[in-house]
Every structure is written in C-alpha cells, then in structure tokens.
C-alpha cells in the first residue's frame, strides 16, 4: 500500500512538470502583458519594469529561471501586487478557500447523503419527488444568481447575516450555502441512484433475509456500496471546492485564492497564475489519490499491491 502511494506520488512529478510547462507557455501566448493598462506607460518606464521582472530576457530563459526558482520553492513576485510575493498571496488566501470549501464539502456530504438516502428509501413518493426537484434546482440555478439573492435576502432585507466580507463564523454561512447547494444536489442524486441499486443487490437481500434491522441494512451494508460513485465524484469536486470559487469570492468579497486565477489571467500576472495552477494541480493529484485509496477501503474487490 505504502509503495503504491509512493509510486503514485512519484508519478505525479512528470504530470506537474507538464502542467507547469504547458501553463507557462500558454500564458505567454495571450497578447498583452502585465503592464498594459488604460494608462499606457512611458517607453522607458516599461523598459525598466521589464528589466526588473526579467521580462526582457528570451522566453526560454525566463522559463528556466522560473523552474530554477520553483525548485527552490520560490513562486516568484507578483507582477501586479508588488508588495507581495506569490507565496504570500496564496498563503493568505488558501486557508480562507480551504475553510469555505471544506465546510461546503462537509455540508454537501451530510445533507446530500441524507436527502439521497431518504429519497431512495421512499422511492416514487412525494418525498422522493421533492428531493429530485430540489436537486434539479440546485444544479440548474447558477451560483452567480444564488449568491447575490442570498446576500440580498439575509444581509440586506432581514439583516440576519453579513451581506459580504470576511470575519467571524457568521460571514461564512451564506458563501458556504452557495458553494454547497449544487454539490448537495449532485451528491443527493448520486446517492439516491446507487442506493436504490444497492438495496436491490444480493448481499442486501441476504441481510434482509437474516432479519437484520433496516437501520443496519441501510447504514452499514447499502450505504457503503452506495458511496462509491460519490467518492469518485468528490475527488475532483473537492479539489475544485478547496481551491476557491471566483464567483462566490467576488460576490461576497472574500479573500480566497479563487479569484487570483481569473484576476491573474486578466492582469497577465504570470507568476500568480502559475502559482494558482500549481496549487490546483497538486490538489487534483492528491484528491485523486485519496479517492483511489478510499475505493480500496470501501470496496473489498479493489486491492493495491
């Protein structure tokens, strides 16, 4: 098992290297640079800035310079936020994104599984239809609609929760709901489908024949099998949630790293975009590995040697 994990982690290095290389050159294909704004800079000023940030060197040299710094754990200075290095920016923002994403993930798992189980057990009843309707709503209504509406209702009209900003647990509630809503819907649907299948499977029928209580049948025997599709969905979903959401962070004004990806790309803040890409790539690799390991734990048929 440990060898398997090590092998996977070693195998991730070339993947990350490819991602970094691809992102580096793709960023540079985009026209314009970090200093092109509504206010054009004087030629000499631009020349100075390009020199300060090594942008006057050939692209391949910049690439190896970046890789060299990266190997030493240095993600470079931000081209736009000149008082911060990319490490500092991501270091400030990542804990916020992880808290929000983690909470949303937890809510999605708990509420989604609960709704999915109830719907599966009461298949074709009004509860089932209700859950399906809620799930469809959650998936179809985009978060850029949900976020301002929640902020308007609970922040402006009812004054129950902050309309935006970061500080204290109360400021997390609306963003977490917004982030969790589509995930709740997806998890509920996945659990419902696989649970219905699991309830009809041979081992569950056997368990029923033994007269085990329904609580045991659902909680132990069915749910474990029903979890598999959710686990494989949640791998990449968790990576995406924990690395922040540009829409939710912008609309609620939260200091996560989700917006750096878009802001960075629009500002041509090359190093910031690269830093974000690396973080997302690392999260995807790690969560895919966790999914595979969970599979082995949940499904006795899967073994890694």
């Amino acid at each position: 098992m440990l060898r398997y994990v090590l092998r996977r982690l070693l195998g991730a290095i070339p993947t990350l290297f490819l991602v970094i290389t691809f992102a580096f050159f793709l960023m540079r294909v985009a026209p314009g640079g970090p200093f092109d704004r509504e206010r054009a800079l004087e030629a000499k000023v631009l020349e100075n800035l390009n020199r300060v940030f090594h942008l006057d060197r050939p692209l391949w040299e910049q690439y190896f310079y970046y890789l060299g710094n990266l190997a030493r754990g240095d993600l470079g200075p931000s081209f736009i936020y000149r008082d911060f290095s990319v490490q500092q920016l991501l270091g400030n923002g990542l804990p916020v994104s992880i808290q929000l994403g983690g909470m949303a993930l937890l809510v999605a798992l708990l509420v989604g599984s609960l709704l999915g189980c109830i719907a599966a057990l009461r298949q074709n009843s009004w509860i089932d239809y209700g859950v399906t309707a809620v799930a469809t709503f959650g998936i179809t209504v985009p978060n850029f609609v949900v976020a301002p509406v929640l902020s308007l209702i609970f922040g402006v009209w009812l004054s129950m929760l902050p309309a935006g900003g970061w500080g204290g647990p109360s400021s997390m509630i609306l963003p977490v709901i917004t982030l969790a809503l589509p995930q709740v819907a997806i998890v509920a649907r996945l659990i419902r489908g696989s649970m219905i299948e699991a309830l009809r499977s041979d081992h569950v029928r056997t368990a029923r024949a033994y007269g085990l209580p329904m609580r045991m049948i659902v909680g132990v025997h069915s749910l474990r099998a029903a979890c598999l599709p959710v686990v494989s969905y949640l791998g990449p979903a968790a990576a995406a949630l924990l690395t922040g959401s540009v829409v939710v962070e912008t609309i609620f004004g939260l200091p996560g790293i989700g917006r750096y990806f878009v802001q960075g790309a629009l500002n041509r803040d090359y190093t910031l975009v690269m830093g974000t890409v690396i973080i997302i790539a690392v999260f995807v690799v790690i969560f895919n590995l966790i999914v595979d390991l969970l599979y082995a734990a949940l499904d006795p048929r899967v073994r890694y040697d």
């Binding site: 640079g33 054009a40 000149r82 902020s151 004054s159 912008t250 629009l266």
Partner: protein, 533 residues
C-alpha cells in the same frame, strides 16, 4: 450534528458575535468602513499610478500641498511657498510641527531623497514622467544622469527649493498627486521595498497602516504624531476592495459600509430610486473617447473623421446606455477643469438637431467618396465590458446611414491596450483618460505628435504641437488658457479622437458620514470627515 444542536451552535455563534459587536461599540472608537475600487498594486507611493491607491496614500501621507474637501490646493507639509518671477523656482517653507509617525521631524532633505528616488530608473516607478517638469528629471530617468542633479534642493532643514525646466502653472496641482508624497528615508534604507509593510511603514499623514490583507481589507489608525491629530475625528479606517461594485451596494444597504467609491453603471437607475441623494454623481475629470487612426488610408481624410463624430447622438449614449451617469462630450478637456475657460469647446454643429447633423455628415462622406455604393469598412476595437459593448453597438448603428460597415474587435483590457501600443493596424479604438491634475495640458498633451504612448490616433499636426509649446512657456494664466483653447479648437476641427462622454464619478455616501463634499477630482481625505451615529 442534529438539526437542534446545529441551531443552538448557530444561535450561540450569532449571540457571541453580537456581544462582541456591542463590546466594540462600547469602546466608542469611530470606524469608517470605506469601499475602494480595488486593492492597491502597491503602497509604495513612487510605484503607484491608480486612483484606488491615491485614496489610500492620501490618508497615510501628506505632501507639500494637499487637497481640501473641495479639491482646492491648500498648504500641506509646506505652510507657505514663494514662486520666482520667471515661474521656474518654487521655495517651500515646511511646517515646524510636521513629523513622521515615529516622532521624527519631516525635513526638506526627506523630500529631496523622495524625489530623487522616484526618478532613479531602478525604482521602477510607473508614473515618474508626471514629474518631468522638475529640472533634469527626464534626463535622470531616461538618460543616465545622476539623481543628485535633480532640481530639488534642501536649503536648510525646513526650506525646500524646487527648480523647474519651464514655468509650469499646474506644478502645485502636480504635487498633490501621490508621486509627490514623501517616503521616510531611514525606513526605506533599512527595509528596502519592504518599507510598505505595516510593521515597517513610517508615514507622515493623518493615519498609519495597521494591516493589509489582500482582497479583504486595509486597516489604518489615527496617527497621534500627525500635526493636526486633534482635528481628526475618525479613529480607524477599514478600506474594503470591491471588485464587484454590486457587492458594495448591498453591503452599503445592509449598513456594513459607509461609502462606495464606484457603482455598477448598468444598475444606476434602480440604485438612485432606492437610495436617493445618497447616490453622488458629480462631474469627474475624465473623457471617454474613440481614437481614429489618422495614418489609415480610410481615416486620413478629416472630412470622414468629422462625419463620424457628427452623427453620434451623445445624449442617447449618455442617457440610455450610461443611465445618465455620463455627460455628452464634444471636446477633449472636461468642464470644470482648473486654469481654463468655463465653457467646454464645442464644434459649430454640436447644437444642430441630430437629423441636420446626419444630412451634413452624409454630404461630407459623399465628398470624401463614401456612400451606400462605396461603403467604408471600419474595425472598432474596445476592451470588454457591458457598457463599452452597448456603446459600440449603438455607435455602429448611428454610423450605418453614412454607409459605414463596422466590425468589432473585442479584447480584454491588457490585450486591447497592448494592441494600441504595439500595432498600427487598428482603425477605431475605445479609450478614456482620467486627469492626474486639474489642468487642460493634462488632456491636450494626449495627441501631441511626440507622445507615442498616448497618441493612439497617431495625430501629427505641427501647428497643434507649436501651440502647446507656446502655452508651456506662457506664465500669464489667462493668455495661456486662450492658447490652449486654440489648440483644442484645432483638435475639434481635425477630430483625431471622437470625444463621446465626460465622466462622472459614482459614489454612495451614508448620511452618517459627514464632511464628504462632491468635487471634480473625486478626492475625499478621511481626515476631513466625521461619523455620526
């Protein structure tokens, strides 16, 4: 966690937050939660260029001269100054009680250090060229001259002498810009570029920096060492960056922020309906225009350029597309600017009805050889935004009767401006200009032939340049205004740019916030404001 348990945790949390809020209020510290356009790129005054940075730096530092609440230039660190007869030497007398936040006195030498620092090429100052009127500044910044040759000298500890290249009537205005703010030499020497960190920053303004969390807030507290600390009413400022303007409006309505520095233009009507006179949209020192590439065969003919300008119904664009938040423009220099006439320059046809203008324009196009049988194909480039798109679509439609077929070229801001800078093959391009100081020169210099960075029209008229040169040497302000007006009339005649709109600033100001006065520069130093509960 059961639902009840969750509910009790939630209630507990909310109650705790409430108690905390009350406890904070009991300390009776007034905090101004101030919306800003975005985070600063830096708090190093010499590397800044944006308006959101200007707001922050105005509270942290004090320059030789400052703006009062109505954007008039008043004494700052300098309590008075003398100007030599030829208008080339300014002698500033610094206040005895001006001091840094660490208690050290602000000396003339600090300003010498600061001005030399911004001109040193290695500083990487984006906006150093704004101070080129200072003697030798340009030579130092671009020609390798030693910074010690700069025309800024400390006569004694409290007397500063600045020599200029030529008389510059807007020089005092220039010094209100953040590039004119001093840095604390000892702090910069000790910490290098890290002098901007809260733990290192030594400032001389009404506030000191407490913390800076990107995308969250910048906190400042009253500087007890500030020379007029007793008159500063607000104890603490929390600057919140709002990339999403609508978020600021919601938080304003929820009572969480006291002011917003900008509003979503497409929602302006409904915001005005809801919030009435808390919405402030005074004229702003800016012009929104379309640049016409005069080197392009199709746009070389001034008749074509004029016809294109003539048929644009600016009232429609201002009222319908920009919800009345912009002012129709026919000239380059916005109304209300300093050192200039009251009436903005207009072409003769500006007061004709739009139908008459259309007839005249069609005739001009026919003279130039264009019409329905020989349509003019134009490419219109703009940077992506909902209102830029709507404006471009409307204008393309207004050009249709002239036999003009428009194709659009839409890019994000970086790509758009890089294209304008590096390429010659654009035809019509959207751009805008917000003045750095209140003087017509700051607008008219845009289309000088020797200003390749901003002259997107590639306009080259020696007569125009000569008038600007003549104005630069003129010390009589009235005569100078007349010369500049002549230049603007030539601009209007030749139409290298089509001026479309003059900007207004858009702010939300809570009735609790007192001392906020609308002004054309949109400057609002916190030290002049107070908060009533």
């Amino acid at each position: 966690m059961g639902i009840d348990r969750f509910r009790s945790v939630l209630t507990g949390t909310l109650a705790a937050t409430g108690v905390l809020a009350m406890a904070t209020a009991a300390l009776a510290q007034t905090t101004y939660v101030r919306g800003n356009d975005g985070d600063p790129e830096t708090l190093d005054q010499h590397k800044t260029s944006t308006i959101s940075e200007a707001h922050l730096l105005r509270d942290l530092y004090e320059g030789l001269v400052i703006y009062d609440p109505e954007a008039n230039v008043i004494p700052g660190v300098a309590e008075s100054w003398d100007v030599s007869d030829d208008g080339r030497t300014y002698t500033f007398h610094l206040r005895e009680d001006a001091s840094w936040s660490n208690g050290d006195p602000v000396k003339a030498e600090d300003f010498v250090y600061s001005f030399q620092r911004i001109m040193t090429p290695d500083t990487g100052a984006k906006y150093a060229n704004i101070l080129y009127p200072i003697k030798n500044a340009e030579q130092i910044h671009t020609g390798g001259l030693d910074p010690s040759e700069l025309g800024v000298e400390a006569v004694d500890e409290k007397t500063l002498e600045i020599t200029l290249e030529r008389p510059t009537p807007y020089f005092l205005e220039l010094l209100t810009h953040q590039t004119g703010l001093p840095v604390n030499p000892a702090s910069v020497e000790e910490h290098g570029s890290d002098f901007v960190r809260p733990e290192n920053m030594v400032s001389n303004g009404a506030y000191t920096l407490v913390s800076f969390t990107p995308n969250d807030k910048i906190v400042m507290e009253k500087n007890p060492e500030f020379r007029e600390a007793d008159s500063v009413s607000i104890d603490r400022i929390e600057y919140i960056p709002f990339e999403d303007r609508a978020n600021c409006v919601r938080r304003f309505e929820a009572g969480e922020v006291h002011s917003c520095s900008d509003l979503p233009a497409d929602q302006l009507e409904s915001i005005k309906e809801r919030l009435g006179d808390q919405v402030r949209t005074p004229p702003y020192l800016g012009t929104y225009y379309y640049s016409l590439n005069t080197q392009k065969e199709s746009l070389k003919d001034p008749r074509v350029r004029q016809a294109l300008s003539m048929v644009i119904d600016r009232d429609f664009v201002a009222d319908e597309i920009w919800s009345g938040s912009m002012i129709p423009a026919f000239g380059l220099v916005p109304p209300g600017i300093g050192n200039y006439d009251v009436e903005p320059v207009k072409p003769e046809w500006a007061d004709l009805s739009i139908l008459d203008r259309e007839d005249q324009a069609i005739a001009l196009m026919e003279e130039a050889g264009y019409g329905p049988d020989n349509p003019l194909e134009l490419e219109l480039s703009y940077n992506n935004s909902e209102n830029h798109k709507n404006t471009a679509t409307a204008i393309a439609d207004m050009w249709a009767p002239l036999g003009v077929n428009v194709t659009f070229n839409v890019r994000d801001a970086s790509a758009h401006y890089a294209h304008l800078r590096d390429s010659d093959d654009y035809e019509v391009a959207r751009a805008g200009w917000i003045g750095d100081y209140s003087d017509p020169q700051n607008f008219l210099f845009l289309v000088r032939s020797d200003n390749p960075g901003f002259n997107y029209a590639k306009y080259d008229n020696p007569e125009y340049d000569a008038l600007l040169d003549q104005a630069a040497e003129e010390t009589d302000l009235e005569k100078r205004a007349q010369i500049l007006r002549q230049a603007e009339e030539i601009f209007v005649r030749d139409t290298p740019y089509i001026p479309l709109l003059y900007y207004s600033s858009h702010s939300l100001v809570s009735p609790k916030l007192e001392g906020w006065k609308d002004n054309i520069q949109n400057v609002h130093a916190t030290r002049f404001m107070s908060i009533s509960e």
